[in-house]
């Protein structure tokens, strides 16, 4: 299994609070991704990174920001959480542009 650890695994928080999710990899892969998974929508890309300090937006990036200061860590921040951001968040990594993505176990986030 790809060495991907997401933390926390579960979180419950209130609307308006900031939330940071962490993805840590031990594979030294260049590419990292944050997805959210919601019923009826499948997995949707939030942000991705193609190297340290190199990030860009995915299809559902509004309300989210990311940072990657080290190869192994990719952080996803909800600046002011809303109930619509209740979801399961997955981190994925890839070793190259011709290699498939491998996923972490996910973080279940509930915003009340």
């Amino acid at each position: 299994d790809a060495g991907i650890t997401q933390s926390p695994r579960h979180k419950v928080t209130e609307t308006g609070t900031p939330v940071t999710l962490r993805c840590h990899q031990t594979e030294n892969h260049r590419y990292m991704y944050w997805y959210r998974q919601d019923p009826g929508h499948g997995l949707r890309l939030i942000h991705y990174s193609y190297g340290v300090k190199d990030t860009d937006k995915g299809e559902v990036s509004d309300g989210y920001s990311v940072s990657r200061s080290k190869t192994e860590d990719f952080l996803l921040t909800l600046e002011s959480a809303t109930s619509s951001q209740t979801s399961v968040y997955f981190c994925a990594i890839s070793g190259g542009s011709n290699q498939p993505q491998h996923f972490g176990d996910g973080t279940r986030l509930s915003i009340l």
């Binding site: 499948g42 997995l43 949707r44 890309l45 193609y50 890839s94 498939p100 993505q101």
Partner: protein, 112 residues
């Protein structure tokens, strides 16, 4: 906009049955099609298909891509209860970062 449609949405079979899952897609600059299996946590990678007509096999699972029909099938023979999962299809667009669009999945339940 890229689109991936999977069918059926769900199915229930008995152990030992053979099942075929379908995936159709519309994507600009198609590169590859991927299949993942998702049990309770992370989607796990099954196959990546790039060339039409070439079957990929792994044990009782096999998959093939038809680029003319813009579709793929995933076959599972002699199903077991451990095959119960959501099977995700995704298409990977060429160019830039790994732009991957996921379908909403087929939920397979295998009963003894």
């Amino acid at each position: 906009e890229d689109k991936v449609v999977q069918s059926p949405l769900s199915l229930v079979v008995h152990e030992g049955d053979t099942v075929t899952l379908n995936c159709s897609y519309e994507v600009t600059n198609f590169r590859s099609l991927l299949w993942y299996k998702q049990e309770k946590k992370a989607p796990t990678f099954l196959f990546m298909l790039t060339s039409s007509g070439i079957e990929k096999k792994s044990g009782r699972l096999s998959s093939i891509l038809d680029k003319k029909e813009l579709s793929s099938i995933l076959n599972i023979t002699a199903t077991q209860t451990g095959d119960s999962a959501i099977y995700l299809c995704a298409v990977w667009r060429d160019g830039g970062y790994q732009k991957v669009t996921f379908g909403t999945g087929t939920k397979l339940q295998v009963i003894p």
